[in-house]
Amino acid sequence: MGWEGPAAWGPNPGPQPRTPTRIPSCSDSIPAVPPGLDPPAPLGSPGTAGSASPGSPRFPRYRRDPGPAGLAFPPGGRWRRPRPLRPRSQAEAEAMEKELLEDYRFGRQQLIEMCGHACAVAVTKAFPLRSLRRRQPTLLVACGPAQNGAVGLVCARHLRSFDYEPTIFYPKRSPDPLHRDFTTQCEKMDIPFLSYLPTEVQLINDAYNAVVDAVLGAEGTQGTEGTEPCAAILATLRHVRIPIVSLDVPSGWLPGPAGGSGDISPDVLVSLAAPKEVARRFRGRRHFLAGRFVPEELRRKFGLSPPEYPGSDCVVAL
């Protein structure tokens, strides 16, 4: 039928080649603009999103010198096209969510459902069923007490319908009735809930193919990660050797140019709506954006250039 098609099933096809046009500046702090190009348009102006940059559109505005750690090339890693999206601060992310809920009248449950579904699709792209090491496609989904945890619950449910075998660890359950409903839905899909997380990391390495980290979201970057049991979960996750997929932000990462020595190192990051500030430090293999549900007007307002989502996919590899 001529449709490019959603998720290709099978080995990971890798990032799609794209011409580097229409890419605004990656960061506000990019210094000199290469000669012949106009300076980057200010945030929120109509020129940033969706239209060709003034001047020569062929040369993405990235710096060649290392600069702050956030934009350094991964040592020995594959060269990646510069990220076309400016990472959002915590305040901006909250403002965007507020606008989606209040002005656009999205329901919170709707948004969490869309995010969770998109995260599940991203997990299947990063770890296709046939590529998993173990015979059973087991995954551990660690859910925290707040919204990030709820996204994790929805993600687990969709992974289950995609024929993976998720197991959830959800020690501190939110009293929010919405989150309780998500929990019931998972239970009714016969997704097991662990009663405790073993501190013996080898057990996790042996039992699961990957871990989905839905412990702390952007609120975790405020430094609340010390509260139990999140701290204990993160302490264990730091030492696992199987890949970690972090939802929105790697749990426990605090904002700033340099990470803490105790940070977890996710292999895959799925940014929700827009990449967050801490995503600058992400050095893993795949970075996905799940933001197709963000209306165009809102994207323009927050200076998000629309990435090209393949076909009817709800996630795009950055």
Binding site: F193, A207, G311
Partner: protein, 290 residues
């Protein structure tokens, strides 16, 4: 490995029980003590008689009461919310449309789609579908004459408005106008709860739609059809997107594309009603039945 499995609780006990391989039928259950032999479910398959004219082997076509019962169970037992399922249903519809009628296939200069929304949940599905179509690059226009005052529907309408999806103040008077302006019509007027006579303004809308020549994609049930018996002289859509499972009316569907959408039915529920749903491809939220 017995060590980690013993410690890691229910999940791994189940995994060990299924170590020999997965049950072929989609409706298997995870419960403890569910051994592989029972998973084969052969006796169960033999127990129900496939409906005449059914699609893939053993796929069940639901009656109206069954469809309503499944819906109820999803909300009361499984604690899904209408918002959630409507979002997934609308996404399925938009995805199916994108597969069958990609924007490049439209003969109109823009991929313009008219979405006609009824007063109930089927209309809500249409609103969600319109929003996703917009995100997929189509240009949907909505006609939503009888608006529900429930917050969910007001929210969905606002989302469409804010995404610059126009709402028509009145329905095009002639079928020819629709043919000229739009490449596709989405029929989201009545769903599986429909009974009795068609009330205005939908009677005249349906008579106009019966005369359009552009393809019509119906959500769940072609509007105006009896949910079980169909309607020979009614709307004849080109595409039908059955949600959850096809209803008996789908047996009378003669259009080109029959898709299954609404990929949210838990395995236990599928098992309970012997839905025998075929496997969805990959992570797709739709499955083409014909």
């Amino acid at each position: 490995m017995p060590g980690p499995r013993a410690l890691l609780g229910l999940g791994l006990l189940v995994a060990a029980a299924r170590a020999g391989g997965r049950c072929g039928e989609r409706g298997w259950s995870w419960g403890l003590g569910w051994n592989r032999e029972r998973c084969r479910c052969l006796p169960r398959r033999a127990m129900h008689v496939p409906s005449p004219g059914a699609g893939p082997k053993g796929l069940r076509f639901l009656g109206q009461e069954e469809a309503q019962a499944i819906d109820q169970e999803l909300f009361t037992e499984y604690k899904f919310s209408v918002d959630q399922l409507m979002e997934l249903a609308g996404l399925s519809c938009a995805t199916a449309i994108a597969k069958a009628y990609p924007p490049s296939s439209f003969t109109t200069s823009q991929p313009a789609v008219l979405v006609v929304c009824g007063p109930g949940n089927n209309g809500g599905d249409g609103l969600v579908c319109a929003r996703h179509l917009k995100m997929f690059g189509y240009q949907p226009t909505v006609y939503y004459p009888k608006r529900s005052s429930k917050p969910l529907f007001e929210g969905l309408t606002t989302q469409c408005n804010k995404m610059d999806i126009p709402f028509l103040p009145e329905f095009p008077a002639e079928a020819e106008f629709i043919d000229e302006l739009y490449g596709l019509v989405v029929d989201a007027i009545f769903g599986f709860s429909f009974t009795g006579a068609v009330r205005e303004p939908f009677g005249s809308i349906l008579s106009t739609l019966e005369r359009v020549t552009v393809p019509i994609a119906s959500i769940d049930i072609p509007s105006g059809w009896d949910v079980e018996k169909g309607k020979a002289d009614g709307l004849q859509p080109d595409m039908l997107i059955s949600l959850t499972a096809p209803k008996k009316a789908a047996m009378h569907f003669t259009g080109r594309y029959h898709f299954l959408g609404g990929r949210f039915v838990p395995p236990a529920l599928q098992e309970k009603y012997s839905l025998n749903l075929p496997e969805y491809p990959g992570t797709d939220c739709v499955l083409q039945l014909t």
